[in-house]
């Protein structure tokens, strides 16, 4: 009976160790990827804004301050001009990075409860162990 208790304890210890490794790996990888892509998006967007400022491309969007008639008349042509002035490769990379950040955030939201529960269980286990 005593040896059975010992064995159960060993199994549970192993499971927790395995889970700690798995969760740590998962959380760290997601954090690293998330931070990396957020920084990447930040740098790319600031570079893109600089380029557009140098080209004075934002002037094309100034017509929004006018009345509704003017906006209606020039909306499509101004937007298409603005699109043409965008540096295409940089814009596509930026959009792809934003998409990655959104996907990662989606995964985080979806698995948030699961990860939270796992972390709480691991915390409780190791706290009880150290007592």
């Amino acid at each position: 009976m005593k040896s059975n208790k010992k064995l159960e304890k060993k199994i549970i210890d192993k499971v927790y160790r395995l889970e700690a490794k798995k969760t740590a790996g998962y959380v760290l990888l997601r954090l690293f990827l998330g931070l990396f892509f957020i920084l990447f998006v930040f740098f790319l967007s600031s570079a893109l804004i600089d380029i557009l400022n140098e080209q004075n491309s934002f002037d094309l969007l100034d017509f929004y301050r006018d009345d509704l008639e003017v906006i209606k008349r020039y909306f499509i042509s101004n937007i298409s001009d603005f699109y043409r002035e965008l540096p295409q490769p940089l814009t596509f990379i930026l959009l792809a990075s934003i998409l990655v950040v959104l996907v990662l955030t989606g995964f985080l939201i979806k698995n948030f409860n699961k990860i939270k529960n796992r972390l709480i269980s691991l915390y409780k286990f190791y706290i009880n162990k150290t007592k």
């Binding site: 199994i11 192993k14 889970e19 409860n113 990860i115 529960n117």
Partner: protein, 164 residues
């Protein structure tokens, strides 16, 4: 009231891993006894019980909670036992003395070469003297593949002659 296996699996899938303790407590002694019927060494039994539960834990995300846990656990036990037997299968060491029979090639007889053309004869003799195909090709100023096919043709002719 006792928590059902289904509820436990759902809880574990939701990240509440402390519920795995219930499964371990519920099934470890029966699995221990089952393995104990087949293996005598206590350490091996304990290792196998541990491996069974670890394997189950690894697979728990894919496990359908509607299905019963016990048969699944026993299937893992069977696999673990198979692996255990394979690992400890008695191995017969091979004898290091390996007898190699060296078959010496018979030297070519002049009578055998009658069936061959002049070129085939000369090339085959050079091959017998240890020249490589490349060297022979250089010597006769012929492409390597031609030399190879001459040698092959000559050998076939000799073989047919010997069979007769």
């Amino acid at each position: 009231m006792e928590t059902s296996d289904k509820e436990i699996i759902i809880k574990i899938k939701q990240g509440e891993i402390d519920y795995f303790t219930y499964l371990v407590k519920r099934y470890s002694s029966s699995i221990y006894r089952f393995i104990g019927l087949k293996i005598k060494k206590k350490e091996d039994i304990e290792d196998l019980v541990q491996n069974t539960f670890i394997s189950f834990y690894r697979a728990i995300d894919k496990f359908n909670e509607e299905k019963p846990v016990k048969p699944y656990l026993y299937q893992i036990v069977q696999n673990e036992l198979k692996m255990f037997y394979r690992r400890y299968k008695p191995i017969m060491p091979l004898k290091e003395e390996i007898i190699i029979e060296e078959v010496e090639a018979e030297p070519l007889d002049d009578r055998d070469l009658v069936a061959l053309t002049g070129m085939e004869k000369r090339i085959l003799i050079l091959t017998g003297e240890g020249f490589t195909n490349e060297e022979i090709a250089k010597k006769f100023k012929k492409p390597l593949n031609t030399v190879k096919s001459i040698i092959r043709r000559a050998r076939i002719k000799l073989k047919i002659k010997n069979e007769k």
